[in-house]
């Protein structure tokens, strides 16, 4: 699996992502600076977390209109796998590659903690290693993770099996506490209509080593490596 990571001014999770990708694929990803219009040949393109352009205007809005995102959109249309994590998810929705929007957390606070993540649809390369209805432990770290879409869009996402992950209680967590940001229908990650683009708020790249408190993120990368060669 050949991978590429897109880097903007303000991106800050690209090294963690590079480590997780190299662990799964055996080779380091190509790091692509936002001004480079051309992407290297890759089986998986990752838009990592951080605060691209300082979250000016709206989180992800500036990066969504950069030249490199046009190349990412072209690649997605050709069927290349694209993963957006946290700010990467915000960028993909602002760019129109995924529906909906990410609003400020309902608590108005930055949330940084482990959450439970239920695998809803494991029928894609991203989640094939998990099997459905498993609850994973992964960290979130964001201020604007409150997924929103109108009811029609949400119904369509559910009808088309495009909800990838939902927040879920982690061992005994209270029912009103497990959703860290107020997202509608507890949505934590969604696919595009072809299942080759995934956006998610939790950080699988920060759950790949025992010293990070969880290794549940490994499956996402190993599943992709198995599917994409």
């Amino acid at each position: 699996m050949k991978t590429a990571i897109v880097v903007f001014p303000g991106t800050n999770r690209e090294r963690d992502m590079a480590e997780a990708l190299e662990m799964a694929s055996g080779r380091p990803p190509a790091m692509v600076w936002h001004r480079d219009g051309d992407l290297p040949d890759a089986d998986l393109i990752v838009v990592p977390g951080g605060f691209s352009y300082g979250d000016y205007l709206r989180a992800g809005a500036m990066a969504a209109h950069s030249p490199v995102l046009r190349s990412v959109a072209d690649a997605a249309r050709r069927g290349v796998a694209v993963l957006g994590v946290c700010n990467g998810f915000q960028i993909l929705v602002e760019a129109g590659l995924l529906p909906g929007a990410l609003l400020p957390n309902a608590s108005l606070k930055f949330v940084c903690r482990d959450i439970g993540l239920r695998v809803v649809n494991s029928g894609t390369a991203f989640a094939a290693a998990y099997g459905s209805d498993r609850t994973l432990r992964m960290p979130v770290a964001h201020h604007d993770g409150n997924y929103f879409a109108d009811d029609g869009t949400l119904d369509r996402l559910e009808d088309e099996d495009r909800v990838a992950f939902r927040y879920a209680p982690l061992g005994g967590e209270a029912a009103d506490r497990f959703n860290p940001n107020g997202s509608v229908r507890n949505i934590a990650g969604i696919y595009n209509e072809h299942g080759n683009v995934l956006g998610m708020m939790p950080h699988p790249e920060n759950a790949v080593r025992p010293d990070q408190g969880s290794t549940d993120g490994r499956g996402l990368f190993s599943g992709l490596a198995a599917a994409l060669g």
């Binding site: 929705v93 909906g100 400020p104 309902a106 879409a149």
Partner: protein, 80 residues
């Protein structure tokens, strides 16, 4: 020429900042605040002589960048 752009959250979109402001106003003793919605105000100076169609161009700016029409409405005023 100046364009004044107001970007506001659509009705039905949760506005936790607006809610927090409403609570703060209540705590300060301001009665009768039913609801608060917070938005953005953007001023754009347009070069003189850019001619007609200014409103159309600013509307396009809103559609493409200034507002996220999934969650926000916008209103444009042109001042010459």
């Amino acid at each position: 020429m100046k364009a004044k752009v107001h970007v506001t959250l659509k009705p039905g979109v949760l506005d936790p900042q607006g809610k927090a402001i409403a609570h703060a106003l209540e705590a300060l003793g301001f009665d009768g605040v039913a609801d608060v919605r917070q938005g953005k105000y953007i001023e754009i100076d347009l070069e003189d002589g850019s001619g007609g169609g200014a409103e159309d161009r600013v509307n396009e700016m809103c559609e493409k960048l200034l507002a996220n029409t999934v969650i926000e409405n916008y209103r444009v005023e042109i001042e010459s």
